[in-house]
């Protein structure tokens, strides 16, 4: 009983704290300076139509590198907790005929769509994270349809390592070519034409590497969760 009163007090206190945010909130009419300079810089300097991609990959690229690291650590933690100690032969229900046929038809297409989304991340809504999650959803479909199939663990691990390494190497390449204060600068390559696939310097490459990394990491999380549910 006392615990519930305490919980309600906590919620009321937090709500009172946040209420000031609601009271001071207004919808602005114009962009603030930072957003304005980000939009014009992404359009003019980097030649990228999708300004969110410009902020994620270029202006705040170091944050994205840190985020990918956090994702890697979380995946490593999941793998640590759910490591399978002994091979068990738990009976799993097979997927139905409709699910199997549908998965074998749809999974390659979903993967292809994921690749499309992350290679066009600088032109259209989308990008590495969304494309990676799409690839992981195709993996989930395969796991549901065929519970006994083993995921290609080595391929996933190698893909994850290579894409992470490539991401850091491109960042260091910026330091080497353009001098200091230019870690992860995409202007190490030719900027290309406005609204073409090969434009924006290194941004399509960086975002593709992020997409591969997120896709392989979430796929390996799904693989761990599939194997870890049974008694060890």
């Amino acid at each position: 009983m006392f615990k519930y009163i305490f919980a309600i007090l906590c919620v009321i206190g937090f709500g009172w704290m946040m209420w000031h945010l609601v009271q001071g909130f207004y919808i602005p009419d114009t962009m603030n300076e930072i957003a304005d300079s980000y939009v014009s810089g992404s359009v003019n300097e980097l030649k990228i139509p999708n300004t969110v991609t410009a902020v994620v990959v270029s202006y705040r690229g170091l944050d994205t590198l840190g985020e990918v690291t956090v994702l890697f650590l979380a995946t490593a933690g999941v793998g640590f907790f759910l490591k399978r100690h002994r091979q068990t032969n738990a009976k799993r229900r097979e997927g139905s005929e409709i699910l199997k046929t549908g998965a074998s038809f749809l999974a390659p297409m979903i993967m292809l769509f994921g690749i499309y989304v992350f290679t066009h991340g600088h032109l259209t809504p989308g990008g590495g994270f969304q494309g990676g999650v799409l690839i992981a959803s195709a993996t989930l479909l395969i796991i549901l349809a065929c519970p006994d199939c083993a995921l290609p663990k080595h391929l996933i691990r190698i893909l994850e390592g290579i894409s992470g390494l490539g991401y850091v190497l491109i960042g260091i390449l910026g330091l080497l070519i353009l001098g200091k204060h230019s870690f992860l600068d995409p202007r190490i390559m030719d900027m290309g034409e406005w609204q073409k696939l090969f434009s924006g310097g290194a941004i399509p490459i960086i975002y593709s590497l992020i997409g591969l990394k997120v896709g392989s990491e979430l796929s390996s999380v799904l693989g761990y969760l599939k194997g870890g549910g049974e008694e060890s």
């Binding site: 962009m31 999708n50 907790f81 008694e231």
Partner: protein, 123 residues
């Protein structure tokens, strides 16, 4: 405004769930609800009146001056909160997976998901 209030309510509901439920899976669900509420709050902060998505496509009016500089005429939303939400969604997914795997491990060890049965980690 309404998105902000909905996000705030989701955060409060999630905190209430996390503090009052005993089952670990429900606590994790409460965490996910807090996560969603915070995403809504951040997106609401980035909105600008009558603005479109910050993707400078053919649908957004632009002008090009003599030196080739493009200036955007239509209003577009602030891209920074969108980028932050993009980051935080993926982090939330990874953290939820980590918490679920921890719950699975505890269940395998002790056979219960009730938080009161794990007294050894109580202060």
């Amino acid at each position: 405004m309404i998105v902000l209030i909905i996000g705030l309510m989701l955060v409060l509901i999630g905190i209430m769930i996390m503090l009052s439920k005993k089952n670990m899976l429900r606590i994790i669900i409460g965490f996910s609800i807090v996560d969603t509420g915070i995403h809504l709050i951040i997106v609401a902060i980035g909105y600008i009146k009558n603005a479109t998505a910050p993707i400078i496509d053919l649908g957004v009016k632009t002008t090009r001056d003599s030196s080739g500089l493009i200036s955007v005429i239509d209003k577009v939303a602030d891209p920074v909160p969108s980028a932050l939400v993009l980051t935080s969604i993926v982090i939330g997914l990874a953290v939820t997976a980590l918490m679920l795997s921890y719950a699975i491990r505890l269940y395998q060890k002790s056979g219960t998901l009730n938080i009161d049965d794990h007294e050894e980690s109580k202060w």
